[in-house]
C-alpha cells in the first residue's frame, strides 16, 4: 500500500487540479455557442419534456411549444393575439349551416421532407386521424381530435364520442373541403389547433405503419414520434434531434419556408423542471429564455435588465363548489354568500403579477362572449353573513381542498391564494376544513370525482370561443360540480349551436348571465403569465394563448 506516499498524494492533487482547469477551459469554449456568442443558437427552457414529436398525439403545452415551430395548421392565431387568421389556408369559409368548411390553401408551401403541400395533403391528414384504430382511439392519445371532431370511422369503444368528421375532399390542387355531420362551437377554432397541424403525406405513410400500444398499464407511443427523422411539417424550423438523455430538442431553420425565415439558425428547447432552476439558468447565462416565470421573480428579473414580457390574460381561476359533496351548497344563498365572502381584488393585488384581473364570470374579458351584464358578487362580508343567516347556515362547516407542489399559469401560488380565501370565508363565519393534496394525480382525481366541497382550479383557453371555457364545465352534469340545472346547461348548449359568429357571441353572453345567476362556483381572477428572455434577446410577440413563434426571435 504505497499509494498514499506523499508523492502519490501530490500526483492525485495535481491530476484533480488539471482536471478542474481543463473542464473550466472546456466550459469557456462551449459558452460561445451556449450563451449566444455566435448568435446562432437560441436556447429556451420549458418545465417539462415534450411527450411526442407528433402534435396529433399530444394535449400538453410543453409538446405544442416545440411542435408549433415545425408544424402549421390550416388556421392560426394572429401573432401576439387571439384572433383567427389564415395559416396554411389563406382564406376559409363555411356554408350557412356550419357543416361544410372550404379552405383556399397557400401556394408554394413545402414540407420539410420536400413534399409539396396541397389539398390532397390536407385530406390525407384528416383521413389519417379519422381512421385511427386501437390505442390511437384512447383519449390519452387523441384527446384533441375527439374534442374537436368526435370519434372515428369505426369507434372501438362504445363510450367514445360520436364522430362529427364526415369527409375531406380535394376540390382542386389548392382547395380543400372538410365536412362535418353537425355544426360545432369548436369550429373554426379547432382548425387552428397544433393537434390538427398538417403533416407531410409521405411522413403519414410511415406513421401508419407504426402502432401506439396500451401495454403494461401505460400507453407506448409509436417510435416515429419519439425521435427526429420521420416527422415533417411546414413550419419555419425542422426538428433535427431529440436528445432524451440531455433533455434537449434541437430544431434547425427550414430554408425553404414559405414565409419569413427564422432569424436564428438553431433553436433548442431544454427541460428544467423547477421555477428556481429555470431562473438561475437564465441568470447564469446557460439559457436565453424560459416560460412559467414565478410572479415573485418578475420584478427582480426586470430590475436586473431581463426582458419579461407579460401575456394578455386568457385563463380563468375559480373556486369550484361540489353541491353533491355538501348539501348546504345546494342553497343559492349559500353559494352567493361564499361569492360575497371572497375578496377577489385582494387576491389580484397580492398574488398575481401586474395585469391580473378580478373575474366576474367563467371566462376572461379577452374571450368573445364575455358579458358586462352578469350578476356580480362584490366583496361584502356582512352581506355574506346575512345570506348565510337567511339560508339557516350560520354555522356552515365546509371542506376546502387545495393543491400542493404546483403552479399553474392561472394559479401562481396555490397555498397563498388558499390561505387568503380561507381567512375571508372565516371572517364571514364559515368554518373551513383545509385539505392539502398533491396536484397530480391526487388533487385532480379528487376534484374530478367530486370529492371536495370547495376546490381551486382553472383553465387556459385553446382558442377564442366561449365554449372552450364555459362548455368545458357547464354543458351537462359533471361530478366536479355535482348539480343538474337544465337552464344552465341549455343556455350553454344553445349558444354552441348558433352558426352565425356574431349571434354566437351574443348567445355566450346570455349563457354567462344565466350561469352567474345560478353561481355554481366563484370565478376569482385571470392571470397574465410572464415569460423571460436574456438581456441580449429581442423576444417574439408574446401570445395570450402561449403560442409564441420563435422564428421571430433575434439577438441584439
Amino acid at each position: 500500500m504505497r499509494i498514499f506516499k506523499s508523492g502519490a498524494v501530490r500526483a492525485i492533487t495535481a491530476a484533480v487540479a488539471v482536471g478542474l482547469i481543463a473542464t473550466g477551459c472546456a466550459s469557456e469554449r462551449g459558452k460561445d455557442g451556449d450563451k449566444g456568442g455566435d448568435k446562432d443558437t437560441f436556447v429556451f427552457a420549458g418545465a417539462g419534456d415534450p411527450g411526442s414529436l407528433d402534435p396529433a398525439l399530444a394535449s400538453d403545452g410543453e409538446t405544442f411549444r416545440v411542435t408549433r415551430q415545425a408544424f402549421e395548421a390550416l388556421l392560426e392565431h394572429e401573432s401576439g393575439g387571439s384572433k383567427l387568421v389564415g395559416g396554411l389556408a389563406e382564406k376559409w369559409s363555411s356554408d350557412p349551416a356550419g357543416k361544410v368548411w372550404t379552405f383556399n390553401l397557400r401556394k408554394g408551401v413545402k414540407f420539410h421532407d420536400g413534399e409539396a403541400f396541397n389539398a390532397a395533403a390536407v385530406c390525407a391528414n384528416y383521413d389519417h386521424w379519422f381512421n385511427w384504430k386501437g390505442t390511437y382511439q384512447s383519449s390519452a392519445v387523441s384527446y384533441y381530435w375527439q374534442t374537436i371532431m368526435g370519434g372515428f370511422a369505426k369507434n372501438e369503444d362504445k363510450e367514445a364520442p360520436k364522430p362529427n368528421y364526415k369527409s375531406c375532399t380535394a376540390k382542386d390542387e389548392n382547395t380543400a373541403v372538410i365536412e362535418v355531420n353537425e355544426p360545432s362551437a369548436n369550429l373554426p377554432g379547432g382548425f387552428s389547433l397544433q393537434a390538427l397541424a398538417i403533416h407531410s403525406p409521405k411522413a403519414l405513410k410511415e406513421y401508419a405503419k407504426q402502432d401506439a400500444t396500451a401495454k403494461g398499464d401505460a400507453i407506448t407511443y409509436p417510435k416515429y414520434s419519439q425521435e427526429a427523422g420521420t416527422v415533417a411539417g411546414t413550419g419555419p424550423y425542422k426538428i433535427t434531434k431529440w436528445n432524451k438523455g440531455n433533455k434537449e430538442v434541437t430544431l434547425e431553420r427550414f430554408d425553404d419556408y414559405w414565409g419569413e425565415k427564422a432569424k436564428v439558425k438553431n433553436l433548442v428547447f431544454r427541460t428544467i423542471d423547477t421555477e428556481a432552476g429555470r431562473r438561475q439558468a437564465l441568470q447564469a447565462g446557460d439559457i436565453d429564455g424560459y416560460d412559467l416565470v414565478a410572479p415573485a421573480d418578475v420584478k427582480t428579473l426586470e430590475k436586473e435588465g431581463y426582458e419579461v414580457p407579460t401575456r394578455d390574460v386568457f385563463n380563468i381561476f375559480y373556486v369550484g363548489m361540489t353541491q353533491s359533496k355538501n348539501p348546504a351548497l345546494k342553497k343559492l344563498e349559500v353559494r352567493q354568500a361564499i361569492s360575497h365572502a371572497i375578496d377577489r381584488e385582494g387576491i389580484v393585488k397580492t398574488q398575481l403579477p401586474e395585469g391580473g384581473k378580478a373575474a366576474t364570470q367563467f371566462m376572461p374579458d379577452t374571450v368573445a362572449g364575455f358579458s358586462d351584464k352578469v350578476k356580480t358578487y362584490p366583496f361584502d362580508t356582512n352581506k355574506a353573513k346575512e345570506l348565510l343567516k337567511k339560508a339557516g347556515e350560520e354555522k356552515l362547516k365546509i371542506e376546502f381542498c387545495y393543491p400542493t407542489e404546483v403552479t399553474r399559469p392561472y394559479m401562481p401560488a396555490p397555498q397563498d391564494m388558499f390561505e387568503r380565501m380561507k381567512a375571508d370565508l372565516e371572517k364571514a363565519g364559515i368554518t373551513v376544513v383545509p385539505k392539502a393534496m398533491k396536484w397530480a394525480p391526487d388533487y385532480l382525481d379528487a376534484t374530478e370525482a367530486g370529492s371536495c366541497a370547495l376546490h381551486m382550479l382553472g383553465w387556459t383557453g385553446d382558442f377564442n370561443d366561449g365554449y372552450n371555457f364555459i362548455g368545458t364545465w357547464f354543458a351537462g352534469p359533471d361530478k366536479q360540480w355535482g348539480f343538474d340545472d337544465k337552464k344552465v346547461f341549455d343556455s350553454v348548449n344553445a349558444a354552441s349551436k348558433v352558426t352565425d359568429p356574431a349571434g354566437r357571441v351574443e348567445a355566450y353572453k346570455k349563457a354567462n348571465e344565466t350561469i352567474m345567476e345560478y353561481v355554481p362556483g366563484v370565478p376569482i381572477s385571470a392571470s397574465p403569465p410572464a415569460i423571460a428572455f436574456a438581456k441580449n434577446v429581442n423576444p417574439p410577440k408574446v401570445s395570450p394563448l402561449t403560442q409564441e413563434n420563435f422564428a421571430e426571435v433575434s439577438f441584439k
Partner: protein
C-alpha cells in the same frame, strides 16, 4: 460454495415475489391513478374511465397482479406512464448518469477525505484537526440539497464558473455509446464532450460527496488515532524505521480497513442524496426521474425501480457473504 450460491439465488425468488405482492398492494392502495396525471385539468370522469379501461386498470386487483407478474417473469417492466416509453429504456438512459455522478462523488470523498482524516489524526489538536472535525460535522449536518443550492448560487449563477444544470452543454453533439458521458467522450476521442460532461458533474458531485466525505474524514481520523497507539507502530518507530514506511505500511494500511468497508456502504446510500442533488441541477439521472415518477404516480417506473434495487441489494449481500467466506474460513457457511 456452489451449493451456497444456488441456495442464495433460489432464496431470491420468494424474496422478490413477496416484495412484488407488497408493492402491488401498496400501489393499489394509493389514491389517484395515471389517467388524470396524463390529462391534467382536462380529465373528465368519462375520459378517466376510458383510459383506465384501455390500460386494464378497471379489472380486479388479482387479474392486474397476475398480468404484472407475467410481465416481470418476461423481464418486461412495462411502460412509463409519463413518457410512454419502456421502463428499461428509461432506466438505461438515466442510470449511467447517476452512476457517473456517484462515482465522481465517492472519488472526491476518498481523494480528499482519507488524506484529510489522516493529517487530522497526525496533527491531533492542531488547526487542521479542528478544521477537519468541525468541517465534517457541518458536512454531516447540512442537508445535501441546501449545499447544492449554495454551490449552484455561487459558482454557477454568480461566478458562472460551472453550468447551472444538465449533463452536457446545449448543442454538444456527443456520441452516445454507453450512456456514461465522460467515458463515451474518451472512447470516441471526443475529449471536449468528455471534459464538458466532467464540468457538469463537478458541482453536483461536490454536493453529493458532502456526507461521505465527512464520514470518511471522521472514520479515517479515528482509525488512524487508534492504530497510532498500537504496540507495533511504537515498535516500528523505536526500531528506527523510516517515518514514511511506518506511516504508509503500518499505520494507513491498517487504519484503512474499516474505512474501505464504510466506502462500500456509503456508495450504496448515495442514491438518496442523488434524488435531491439531481433535482437542484436538473441532472437527468435516476434520482430526478424517481422524484417525477412519484409525482406522476408512474407505477411501472416505481415498481421496476424498487424491484431492481431490491435485486441489486440481494445480489450485493450474496457477494458480501461469498467474499466473507473466501477471506475468512471461520465464517464459511456450510
Amino acid at each position: 460454495m456452489l451449493r451456497l450460491v444456488v441456495r442464495r439465488l433460489l432464496q431470491l425468488i420468494p424474496t422478490l415475489l413477496g416484495l412484488s405482492v407488497l408493492l402491488f398492494l401498496w400501489l393499489n392502495r394509493l389514491p389517484g391513478g395515471p389517467a388524470s396525471a396524463i390529462l391534467g385539468e382536462r380529465a373528465t370522469e368519462a375520459e378517466v374511465a376510458r383510459i383506465n379501461r384501455a390500460l386494464g386498470l378497471d379489472q380486479p386487483v388479482y387479474v392486474q397482479y397476475w398480468r404484472f407478474l407475467k410481465r416481470i417473469f418476461e423481464l418486461d417492466l412495462g411502460t412509463s406512464t409519463q413518457t410512454g416509453q419502456p421502463v428499461w429504456d428509461e432506466f438505461a438512459t438515466r442510470f449511467p448518469a447517476t452512476v457517473e455522478l456517484s462515482i465522481v462523488a465517492i472519488l472526491i470523498a476518498i481523494v480528499v477525505g482519507i488524506p484529510m482524516g489522516y493529517l487530522a489524526a497526525k496533527r491531533r489538536g492542531g488547526w487542521l484537526d479542528v478544521g477537519a472535525v468541525s468541517g465534517s460535522l457541518i458536512g454531516i449536518c447540512i442537508p445535501v440539497f441546501f449545499l447544492a443550492l449554495i454551490l449552484k448560487g455561487i459558482f454557477a449563477v454568480q461566478l458562472q464558473m460551472f453550468p447551472s444544470y444538465g449533463r452536457l452543454d446545449t448543442g454538444m453533439d456527443a456520441t452516445d455509446i454507453t450512456g456514461f458521458a465522460v467515458l463515451d467522450g474518451l472512447l470516441t476521442g471526443e475529449l471536449d464532450a468528455s471534459l464538458d460532461a466532467m464540468h457538469h458533474l463537478i458541482l453536483p458531485a461536490i454536493a453529493l460527496s458532502s456526507i461521505p466525505l465527512a464520514v470518511i474524514v471522521r472514520m479515517t481520523r479515528a482509525s488512524v488515532l487508534e492504530v497510532l497507539g498500537e504496540d507495533y507502530v511504537r515498535t516500528a518507530e523505536s526500531k528506527g524505521l523510516d517515518k514514511r514506511v511506518v506511516r504508509g505500511r503500518h499505520v494507513l494500511r491498517n487504519a484503512l480497513l474499516p474505512v474501505v468497508t464504510a466506502v462500500g456502504l456509503l456508495t450504496g446510500s448515495l442514491l438518496s442524496g442523488a434524488v435531491l442533488t439531481e433535482s437542484v441541477f436538473s441532472f437527468n439521472g435516476i434520482g430526478n426521474f424517481i422524484r417525477t415518477s412519484i409525482d406522476a404516480r408512474d407505477y411501472p417506473v416505481l415498481v421496476g425501480f424498487i424491484l431492481f434495487i431490491a435485486m441489486v441489494y440481494v445480489l450485493i449481500n450474496l457477494l458480501v457473504d461469498l467474499a466473507y467466506s473466501l477471506i475468512d474460513p471461520r465464517v464459511r457457511v456450510h
